[in-house]
C-alpha cells in the first residue's frame, strides 16, 4: 500500500526528518488559505498515489493568492493518470543549492533491505539506475542486526555527498531505515532531499510503500489505507477480498490463482483480444464468492464478454458452477456472454450442474479464451 505524499511526510516529520511547511486542502478556498499561511512561492500538489504527478499537470507553482486559486481550480477534481484528485497539498517552496536521493528498499534477490544514496536527486532514480548505476551508492543491511551507523555514513560518503551535510544526510538514512523497520515499509524514499544554502536538508517529496501483508500489525497505517483514491471498481473488489486490477480492454476475466489468471489475460491478448481486468478469486472459493466476482466484472461497462477459467485444486468445480448459476439467475438478461472452462477437482460434476442456457462451456483454456474474444468482437 502506497501512502499519500502528505501522509508519508507526516510520518517523516514525526520521526524528525525536516519537511517543508505545508497544509492539506480539499476545496479551492482551503487551498488559498493554505497558500496564504505557508507563504509564497508555494507549490500546489495533487494528492494521488502515483508517480510522475508533475509531468501530468498535477503540480503547480504559485506566487500569490490569485495564482493559488487558479492552480487549485485546475488541480482539484482533475483526473490524473486515471485517479480522481480530491485533495491538494499546499507547500512552501524550498530554496535549495543541491538535490539528493535517499531511499531504503527491499532487494528481492538478496532477501535483505538496501540503503541507497545518490547526488543525482530530483529525477527518476530508476532512470539514473539504468543509465548510470555507479551514481547510486548502495549498502545491503543485515535484517537481523539492523542498520549500523557506519553503514549509513559509508553510503553517504561513497555517494560523494558534500561533507558539510554528510552528517545530516546519514542521519536521514538511519531514520528512513528505522521507519522501514518499524512501519513494515517495503520502499521508502526522499527524492529530492533538498540541500539548503545554510547546509540544512529538507525532504521535498516523500514516498512510502507499506507491506500489505503487514497491515495487521500496523493499525495506524491501515487506517490511512482506508482513505483510498483508487478506482471505484478496485475498491469494490477489495471489499470482497479479491485481487483485482482494472485494465483497458473488453474481455472480463475471472480465475483462480495469480499465475493462471495472468496466463488467461495473456492468452486473450494472444488471440487478438484485450483483457478488461485481472481478477483472482483465490483458493477454495464457494458459490457466493463466485457470484461476487461476476458482479464486479459485470460492473465494468467496457466488458463485452467474460471468460471464467477455474483449475480446481482446493477450489471445487461443483461449487464454482453453483455460484455461476446463482449469479446469472439474478439477471433478466445477462449483461454479456459468459464462457466457462472448469478443470481439476470436481470439474465433471461442475460441468453437469452448469446451466448451459446461460453460459457457453468450453473444454480447454485456449478454446474458452478464443470463444470469449470472438464474443467480445461481436461474433456469436
Amino acid at each position: 500500500m502506497k501512502l499519500h505524499e502528505h501522509q508519508a511526510k507526516e510520518v517523516f516529520a514525526d520521526a524528525g526528518i525536516p519537511v517543508p511547511e505545508s497544509r492539506l486542502a480539499a476545496t479551492v478556498e482551503e487551498a488559498v488559505e493554505a497558500a496564504e499561511a505557508v507563504g509564497y512561492p508555494a507549490a500546489v500538489k495533487a494528492q494521488v498515489r502515483v508517480g510522475g504527478r508533475g509531468k501530468a499537470g498535477g503540480i503547480e507553482l504559485v506566487d500569490g493568492a490569485d495564482e493559488a486559486r487558479a492552480a487549485a481550480e485546475d488541480i482539484l477534481g482533475m483526473e490524473l493518470k486515471g485517479l480522481h484528485v480530491d485533495e491538494v497539498l499546499v507547500e512552501a517552496v524550498v530554496d535549495f543549492v543541491d538535490e539528493l536521493y535517499v531511499g531504503v528498499t527491499m532487494d528481492r534477490g538478496a532477501g535483505e533491505p538496501v540503503a541507497m544514496v545518490s547526488t543525482r536527486g530530483g529525477v527518476d532514480i530508476e532512470t539514473v539506475d539504468a543509465e548510470e548505476p555507479d551514481a547510486i551508492a548502495r549498502e545491503g543491511v543485515d535484517p537481523v542486526f539492523g542498520m549500523q551507523p557506519y553503514e549509513a555514513r559509508k553510503t553517504v560518503y561513497e555517494a560523494g555527498v558534500d561533507r558539510a551535510v554528510a552528517g545530516d544526510v546519514a542521519s536521514v538514512v538511519r531514520t528512513l531505515y528505522e521507519l522501514w523497520d518499524d512501519d513494515d515499509a517495503t520502499e521508502i524514499e526522499v527524492n529530492p532531499l533538498m540541500v539548503t544554502a545554510d547546509d540544512g536538508v529538507v525532504a521535498a517529496d516523500a514516498v512510502m510503500n507499506v507491506d500489505d501483508d503487514a497491515l495487521f500489525r500496523q493499525p495506524d497505517l491501515a487506517e490511512s489505507a482506508e482513505a483510498a483514491d483508487g478506482d471505484d471498481l478496485e475498491a469494490k473488489a477489495d471489499d470482497y477480498g479479491f485481487d483485482y486490477v482494472r485494465l483497458d480492454g473488453d474481455v472480463g476475466i475471472v480465475g483462480n490463482g495469480a499465475g493462471l489468471v495472468m496466463t488467461t489475460l495473456d492468452l486473450v491478448d494472444h488471440y487478438g483480444g484485450a483483457p478488461a481486468n485481472f481478477l483472482d478469486i483465490g483458493g477454495g472459493a464457494k458459490a457466493e464468492r463466485v457470484a461476487n466476482a461476476l458482479e464486479v466484472v459485470f460492473a465494468d461497462d467496457s466488458v463485452e464478454a467474460v471468460v471464467f477459467n477455474i483449475f480446481g485444486g482446493i477450489t471445487r468445480g461443483d461449487e464454482v458452477a453453483k455460484g455461476i448459476n446463482e449469479a446469472l439467475a439474478q439477471f433478466d438478461e445477462i449483461p454479456t456472454p459468459v464462457v466457462v472452462r472448469l478443470a481439476g477437482t470436481n470439474a465433471e460434476e461442475g460441468m453437469e450442474i452448469l446451466n448451459t442456457e446461460l453460459v457457453t462451456v468450453e473444454a480447454t483454456l485456449e478454446s474458452a479464451v478464443q470463444r470469449a474474444v470472438d464474443y467480445a468482437e461481436g461474433e456469436t
Partner: protein
C-alpha cells in the same frame, strides 16, 4: 529418482490442528505421504487422524525421526514456525502459508542461508514426487510418474501445465512450487541444479512470471551449466507496470524491471524455448523427449 522428497521422507506438519492443516494432512496421507507427526505449541499429546501431535518441531523430529516439515501456520506466526523448523534441524521445510510480512521473511531467509536445510516457499502449493509423496496442497490426481521435472512460481498454472503433460503421457519426476512472494527460499536456480543432478529427469519445465530477476538468473545458469533441456513459460505479458498481479512478487516496477519481455528474451538467448500458451510449452517438452 526425484528431488527433495520421496517415499522415505518423514514428514511433520506444522499447524496440523488448524482447518487447512487438518484437511491437507488427510489428503497427503491418502496420497501415500509418510506423515509421522504434527507440531502445534500447546497441543502436544493430541492426535489428528492417528498422527501424534508434539508441542515443538524439535520434539517431533526427535520422537518420530522427522526430516521434513510442511507449514500451514497463519501468516502472523509463520516466520516463527519457519525459524523453529530451521533450528530443529530438518532437511526440507515447505512453507504453504500466503501473506507472511516481507520483513519476517527477510529474517527467515537470512537464517536459512546459514543452514543446509532446503526451504521451499512461502506462498507455494508445495512439492510432489508422483506416486511417492506430496507435501502441500497440490491435487495429487493430475500428476503421474515420469521423467519431466517442473518448477513454478504459481500453483494453478502448475496444475494447468501438469494436466496437459499427464494427458499426453508425459509424467513427472518431481514438481516444485517455489512460491509467488518477493522473498522465497528455493529459487529457480536452486531447483534447476537439483534437477540437473537427478539422472531420471530428462527435461524440465519452468513456469515464471513477472517481477524480480529470478528467471534471468535461471537463464544464465541454464546457458552456462545445464545439459538437461528446459522449456519455459512466463505469465504476465499483459500486466501493466506498478500493479501487483495477485502474487506479492508479481509486479513490474515503474522503470520496467521484471517484465515478461526481459525474462522471455533472457531465456530465448539461453536456448530455452518459451511457449506462447501452456500447450506450446508441452509441445516443446514432447520435442525434447
Amino acid at each position: 529418482m526425484s528431488i527433495l522428497v520421496d517415499s522415505d521422507s518423514r514428514v511433520v506438519v506444522q499447524g496440523i490442528t488448524g482447518g487447512e492443516g487438518k484437511f491437507h494432512t488427510r489428503q497427503m496421507i491418502e496420497y501415500g505421504t509418510n506423515v509421522v507427526a504434527g507440531a502445534v505449541p500447546g497441543k502436544g499429546g493430541q492426535s489428528v487422524d492417528g498422527v501424534s501431535v508434539y508441542d515443538t518441531v524439535a520434539g517431533a523430529a526427535r520422537a518420530e525421526d522427522a526430516d521434513t516439515s510442511v507449514v500451514f501456520v497463519p501468516p502472523a506466526f509463520a516466520a516463527d514456525a519457519l525459524l523453529e523448523a530451521l533450528d530443529a534441524p530438518l532437511e526440507l521445510v515447505v512453507a504453504i502459508t500466503e501473506g507472511i510480512p516481507q520483513q519476517d521473511m527477510a529474517t527467515v531467509y537470512r537464517v536459512a542461508g546459514e543452514t543446509d536445510t532446503h526451504l521451499v516457499g512461502p506462498n507455494c502449493p508445495g512439492v510432489i514426487t508422483p506416486g511417492e509423496a506430496k507435501l502441500g496442497i497440490l491435487p495429487g490426481n493430475i500428476f503421474a510418474d515420469g521423467d519431466v521435472g517442473l518448477v513454478s512460481r504459481s500453483g494453478t498454472l502448475t496444475y494447468q501445465v501438469v494436466d496437459s503433460l499427464t494427458s499426453r503421457g508425459l509424467g513427472q519426476t518431481t514438481a516444485v512450487g517455489i512460491g509467488g512472494d518477493p522473498i522465497i527460499g528455493t529459487d529457480f536456480v536452486d531447483a534447476l541444479e537439483l534437477f540437473e543432478a537427478d539422472p531420471d529427469t530428462r527435461a524440465v519445465v519452468m513456469c515464471g512470471e513477472i517481477g524480480g530477476e529470478d528467471e534471468e538468473e535461471a537463464a544464465r545458469y541454464i546457458d552456462e551449466r545445464m545439459d538437461t533441456p528446459v522449456a519455459g513459460f512466463i505469465a504476465g505479458r499483459t500486466a501493466p507496470p506498478g500493479k501487483r498481479m495477485g502474487h506479492a512478487g508479481a509486479i513490474v516496477s515503474g522503470s520496467g524491471t521484471g517484465t515478461a519481455e526481459s525474462k522471455i528474451d533472457a531465456l530465448n538467448d539461453a536456448g530455452v524455448p518459451v511457449g506462447d500458451t501452456p500447450e506450446e510449452v508441452v509441445d516443446r517438452v514432447e520435442d525434447f523427449l
